[in-house]
Amino acid sequence: MNLNATLIAQLVVFLVFVWFTMKFVWPPITKALDERAKKISDGLAAADKAKTDLALAEKKVVDELRRARESASDLRGGAEKQSAQIIDEARAEAARIVAAAREAAEQEAGTAIQRAKESLRDQVAQLAVAGAEQILRREINAQVHAELLSNLKQELR
């Protein structure tokens, strides 16, 4: 164990190797390590975020479904109401039409009765005149007795 200049040489060599490691080895490898650690923590954060997003989306889906169901039932209610209304209107219209028809028929019937009465009256008047002719056995001047006949017609009304 004798000391000699190897000691100095070793000292210098040591420093050179340390310098090399410090310059070319340590920075890239620690950079890689740090960046990977960051990547991993970012990935974990993203996974967490995705999980919350998913939960939110699921909640939204449930809300949308509920809303859709509500609007569908609203629609159905509206349609039912509208159809009931349409049916009611149709029924009222039908009733109205029936009433008008009945009125028209009644009116027509009334007119027919009236006409029948008129013609009956005419015929009664002619019958009466014919009867009277037969009874009197003589020629009756129609022109002379027209006034008489119309008076008779008036009385029969």
């Binding site: 490898i29 890689a32 990977r36």
Partner: protein, 299 residues
């Protein structure tokens, strides 16, 4: 049994075999005599530490260059594991994020480099030295002088070189964090505090300063010596185990028993040494972080 070959080739005794393995290749062809000699350099230590460090840097660079933030490949995943481990330790011990930009790579380099240097112990003891001996004699030199030690961390120069680097980094951070004045104040006022009495203040200042010097010295020397001691002892025990096989004299009972002993002991020690190699690399890294961390905190 390469050890046997070597003893047979060169006719070495057990003591000579071990001494040969414990001598550095410093270009003089002999063991360094003086305790401290700045004119010498252990080329083997330097070669293996630089080669292993360069290999480690290249491998790390190749992985880091293609680092992806997506799904990592196997090499990247394994390296990331290591980086995270070091980064976590650094985060626990150094609270300044700015300092960690330098200290974390420092700790990573220390761990991988020291681990690789320690792991040279697992190579069969004589493989690289024998190859080197063949090359050396091929170059027309005496094989006896083809010294080679393959574990750089079993060289006190390498480990102390690294621990002194850590000391310099600690001093740098002391000044950087506390300011020169703040650090100077700490040097004379910690660990025993100071006094309002001027005489007592000077005495305490001297004692405190001495304690600080001792602390820095003890930290640095124990830091380097711990790794060196463990790896040197481990290497030495591999050598002693190798001697059992080296005592082969033919198919006879003692030789066969020693051969079995070589195998069993070598296997057991190698297994245990796996633990030591990783543990010492980890301890060296942790102490580096602890010392730099201490430089950030006031007493």
């Amino acid at each position: 049994m390469s050890a046997e070959n070597e003893t047979a080739q060169h006719g070495l005794s057990a003591g000579e075999y071990i001494a040969h393995h414990l001598t550095f290749f410093n270009g003089t062809g002999a063991k360094q005599q003086a305790l401290v000699d700045w004119s010498l350099i252990n080329y083997d230590t330097l070669f293996f530490s630089v080669a292993l460090g360069a290999l480690a840097c290249l491998a790390m660079w190749l992985i880091a260059r293609k680092a992806t933030t997506g799904v990592p490949g196997r090499a990247q995943a394994a390296f990331e594991l290591l980086v995270e481990m070091v980064a976590d330790q650094a985060k626990g011990l150094i609270h300044s994020a700015e300092s960690r930009k330098f200290v974390s790579p420092l700790a990573l380099t220390v761990f991988i480099w020291v681990f690789l240097m320690n792991a040279m112990d697992f190579l069969p003891l004589d493989v690289l030295p024998n190859i080197w001996a063949a090359i050396f004699t091929g170059m027309g030199h005496d094989a006896h002088h083809a010294y080679m030690r393959v574990v750089p961390t079993a060289d006190i120069n390498a480990t102390l070189g690294m621990s002194i680097t850590v000391l310099l980094i600690c001093l740098y951070y002391n000044v950087k964090i506390k300011g020169f004045g703040g650090w100077a104040h700490e040097l004379v006022s910690a660990p025993f505090g100071t006094s309002k009495n001027p005489v007592l203040a000077i005495v305490l200042g001297i004692v405190n300063f001495a304690m600080q010097l001792i602390e820095f010295g003890a930290k640095t020397i124990s830091h380097g010596m711990r790794l060196f001691g463990n790896m040197f002892a481990g290497e030495l025990i591999f050598m002693l185990i190798a001697l059992m096989g080296a005592a082969w004299t033919g198919f006879n009972a003692p030789s066969l028993l020693l051969f079995a002993g070589h195998f069993v002991a070598g296997f057991a020690w190698a297994l245990f040494h796996i633990l030591v190699v990783v543990l010492q690399a980890f301890i060296f890294m942790m102490l580096t972080l602890v010392y730099v961390g201490q430089a950030h905190e006031g007493h």
